[in-house]
Symmetry: C2
Subunit: 311 residues, 2 copies
Amino acid sequence: MRIGIDLGGTFIKGGIVNDANEIVVKKAVPTEVKKGPAGVIENMLGLVGALLDEMQGGAASLQGIGIGSPGTVDDHTGRVLYSNNFNWENVDLAGAFTQRFGCAVKVSNDANCAALGEMLSDKEKSGSAVLLTLGTGVGSGIISGGKLYPGDNPGGAELGHMVIRSGGRLCSCGRRGCLESYASATALIESAREAAALYPDSELAILADKNDLNGKTITDAVRKGDSGAITVFDAYLDALGEGIVNVINIFRPDVIYLGGGVCESFDLMEDKLNAFAEKYAFGGDKALVARIKKASGGNDAGIIGAAGLLL
Amino acid sequence: MRIGIDLGGTFIKGGIVNDANEIVVKKAVPTEVKKGPAGVIENMLGLVGALLDEMQGGAASLQGIGIGSPGTVDDHTGRVLYSNNFNWENVDLAGAFTQRFGCAVKVSNDANCAALGEMLSDKEKSGSAVLLTLGTGVGSGIISGGKLYPGDNPGGAELGHMVIRSGGRLCSCGRRGCLESYASATALIESAREAAALYPDSELAILADKNDLNGKTITDAVRKGDSGAITVFDAYLDALGEGIVNVINIFRPDVIYLGGGVCESFDLMEDKLNAFAEKYAFGGDKALVARIKKASGGNDAGIIGAAGLLL
């Protein structure tokens, strides 16, 4: 049995994961970021302790602990080099767990763990996959040759920070035109707000007035046939498609998983994105074009993937 | 001893490569693309035969043959799936060599082999590197974890076909705004031609009139302080810099090698590109930013890298 921990901004979620990559026990505790690294680690250690209490055979049957953390992680040392959200710098996560539990401990970025979890949970076993999560930002994880690929040095696998429109929108990372600044949920809302000003008769203008623009309301407007919303969403899918085709031309994965809130409307996205990829991927029909699938998502992928770091 | 073959459009170059990844004997024969796959393969087989004649211990001491080919290669089967320049489809290169010589045979894309050759020839041994060759197009090869990474399926590692300016210049691959359409030597010349029309007093206008715009004459004009040429070359470096920072954010390699004719003027490129990468790479000074180095280039890297496929 392995334990997987998904360290989130509000909750720390953990689970006991069996050899079939299924969660057999799941628990969560508040993160309490304000307590700083030592306090958060204490909460994480407590969660692992509570999971161990329910593990068949107890600590003796624990094969190891895997942790998915926000920020830039050094996968080799298990340190969080930097997390903007947590305001952490150089936090030795692996060390704290090794010291307490004396078992193997692996740490990676949370998006990496989510990608690994998606692959491990997918019944169609594929050895290569890329996950893009379309949320506040664009997170990403890369599975290559059946293994997580976090980049050759820390700070890699950041597909959200691949520029697709040089000189375009300012991204939180300081560059202009990153995929994140066009394909995140935040970016969709920003585009809708811009369109609301341009098209005052649009449903988007009504939503903007009510301060109610979000992924759900925008895609609802698309379903209603609102032309402003359709224009915005088509442009959103084009930008996302550019990012996806870049990923295909670089990694040629079997599958691309899309996750995050926007994918609640995956039915509005799937056909257009697959057609875009088939049209524009390098080599046309002479090379494999990844299938674009909706990520199963949820916390389970993060926990299963974190535990999967030990495989 | 291994044999490495670099299959080019005009010449087939081959060498005997020793355990120190040095070429001990080198030979070349014309490719004769017009003879079709069977004729070209016969020329390649003849070249290998001539190399074997000079190998100490003869064929008995041959550990294997590695081949770098243009086009989309299936590294697992050793087939050239498609080569636009050669007008080849599904050519079983590995099979022809295995049949004749009965030894291990590996085939990969020529840019992949060049990247592997650069890494193997570099005295500063690094386990991760990306090569971008700035020529007619933008070729690329990726070394990750000490090994060549050709993509998880054939047709990957095509960094030149990563869109950096969505909706921009039309690329030969059918997309708009690929790195190749801004960072190849061809693109530099196109930009200079556009600028020549806009700035009739520029040195570029004189060169355009003489039909003498090329990487050398453009960078010579930069050295002379011609403002039109400086503007064009600065924009060229910005686009190349975007591609390089994308590569850093994705792969976090130790080194990025730049090759191809434009890099004859690497002294005009090095400082600006390194500064661009340090300014814009994700994570700033909290994560490693690859050094940008000039590729040693030449045919030797292609031969050494092809032989390196057997390592």
